[in-house]
């Protein structure tokens, strides 16, 4: 590892990553990382940082070298014991275990099986909108964005609609528990345990009498003669509720935020043509994705940009930085739903597209590509276009907005505006 020639004055003091300024607006630091430190060794936090688009893409593709798992699958680790969700697919790295779990479940979220849920999504969107349609204004984060995904998922799982409020409470605690502040973790574990107790009898019943819902499908699904254990199913439900619910909720809020404050001139285009909600979704995922970073561990020494990452080092892949890389996108710091250098159609795992355009990194790439990508995209597009169709003359309630930021380091959660008020006519 030789220190590459550094331009003086471009050093990054690693303490910057803990500042509220970085939480609010990481993009200037991302720029510095990409320009001057494509591989950055943060000794203060004991980790390495990769920020350029093609390097992040390459790291995602190379699962052998950049492993997601912290513990070895054949070691003494009791899988799930260190995760607030319990045993779930996020804990597995490059192993057969991961592929087994993923292959069982991923099929349920794409293609025809996904299409079966579309009518239900429409219905839920309508119900949620009904609750505020006469108010003339709505706080999108609490009244709309956070109400739709959790109800969609609990419906997909075939959980009773009467208990929806309970699920909302549980899943908010679960997401907060993903963070590392202790009170949140305790609350998250408590919520998870309650949820599991609730689901246990359902699993027993649906293993015997499976229905059409996702939970039944998970109970009976088989891959290579092996089924998911009850523990794994419960871990998955926790994961779906939290990861599938929370991220989609943020996506919906962020899409409206950008059309109201970042590019209000493009809002009318989307209102006139509801197909453009898909573009909005994609550009939002590029411009300021819900998740900005993914963590990996190297399994060998890796040569990169004049430097060497040692074995078993912690690496952060900044997707948020890669998405703003001018080596991949023109005018990367401009939000534009009509962009012609971003693949606007459905994302896929390989990150390669026939139209030759670059995709965003917001869902990751490759082995661990987000399983719910189609679900998230479809759900957000439907919910948003439904809202747009039922209101007229939508406009921000406040001229100023403090913008999107990350939650506090202690609590888990993803990037979103804290509040988003919108006025409308019916």
């Amino acid at each position: 590892m030789s220190e590459a020639k550094k331009t003086p004055g471009t050093e990054i003091d690693p303490r910057v990553f803990d500042t509220p300024e970085f939480q609010k607006d990481p993009f200037p630091i991302y720029q510095q990382l990409r320009d001057h430190h494509p591989i950055y060794h943060d000794r203060f936090h004991n980790r390495w940082i990769i920020s350029r688009y093609w390097d992040v893409d390459g790291a995602f593709q190379d699962n052998e070298s950049y492993d997601r798992a912290v513990y070895k699958p054949d070691g003494p680790y009791d899988f799930g014991s260190r995760h607030v969700f319990g045993p779930n697919i996020l804990e597995y790295g490059n192993s057969g275990e991961h592929r087994r779990l993923r292959n069982i479940v991923a099929g349920q979220f794409v293609g025809q099986k996904l299409q079966d849920f579309i009518p239900m999504i429409h219905q839920i969107a309508d119900e949620v909108i009904d609750s505020f349609i006469d108010d003339g204004e709505v706080e999108i984060v609490k009244q709309f964005a956070s109400q739709v995904p959790i109800r969609v998922i609990s419906n997909m799982l075939g959980l009773p609609r009467e208990d929806e409020d309970t699920f909302v409470g549980w899943y908010q605690a679960l997401i907060a528990g993903l963070g590392f502040g202790g009170e949140h973790l305790t609350a998250g574990l408590k919520a998870r345990n309650e949820m599991w107790d609730y689901i246990d009898p359902l699993i027993a019943e649906r293993s015997k009498n499976p229905g059409e819902d996702l939970l039944s499908r998970m109970c009976v699904a088989e891959m290579d003669g092996s089924k998911m254990t009850a523990e794994e199913i419960k871990g998955f439900v926790a994961l779906l509720l939290a990861a599938g619910g929370d991220t989609t909720e943020k996506a919906i809020a962020n899409m409206w935020y950008h059309l109201m404050y970042t590019r209000p001139d493009q809002l009318q285009d989307v209102i006139d043509n509801e197909d453009l909600w898909e573009n909005t979704f994609t550009e939002m995922m590029r411009y300021d994705p819900v998740v900005h970073a993914q963590f990996r561990h190297t399994t060998r020494e890796i040569q990169i940009h004049n430097d060497v990452i040692p074995e078993r080092a912690g690496v952060i892949l900044y997707l948020g930085a890669g998405n703003r890389d001018e080596r991949a996108f023109k005018d990367p710091n401009t939000f534009d739903i009509h962009r012609n250098d971003l693949h606007m159609g459905k994302e896929n795992r390989s990150g390669r597209y026939k139209d030759g355009k670059n995709g965003h990194l917001g869902f990751g790439i490759g082995q661990h590509f987000c399983m719910g990508y189609a679900m998230a995209r479809q759900e957000s597009a439907i919910a948003c276009s439904k809202l747009a169709a039922r209101i007229k003359n939508s406009r921000p309630k406040y001229a100023e907005h403090e913008g999107i930021s990350s939650p506090s380091i202690d609590s888990g959660g993803f990037r979103t505006p804290a509040e988003l008020w919108m006025k409308f006519d019916t």
Partner: protein, 64 residues
């Protein structure tokens, strides 16, 4: 059975080679390369059928 990938239809989604790397590989552009010429192992055959089902472009077919 022979596993065929229609290059015209293939949209490089990656579902085949990420789900079943024992049967498929990605080339530099993202297209699929079939690794096993003639699939006889029943387990691999099952995987090939699953891949054909999951492919969003319906580009994989099994032929005798």
């Amino acid at each position: 059975m022979k596993v065929k990938v229609d290059k015209e239809k293939c949209c490089m989604s990656g579902e085949c080679y990420y789900n079943h790397p024992e049967l498929f590989k990605m080339d530099d552009e993202g297209h699929t390369i079939v690794l096993v010429d003639d699939v006889t192992d029943p387990r691999l055959l099952k995987h090939a059928k699953e891949a054909a089902e999951v492919c969003p472009a319906v580009a994989i077919s099994l032929q005798d």
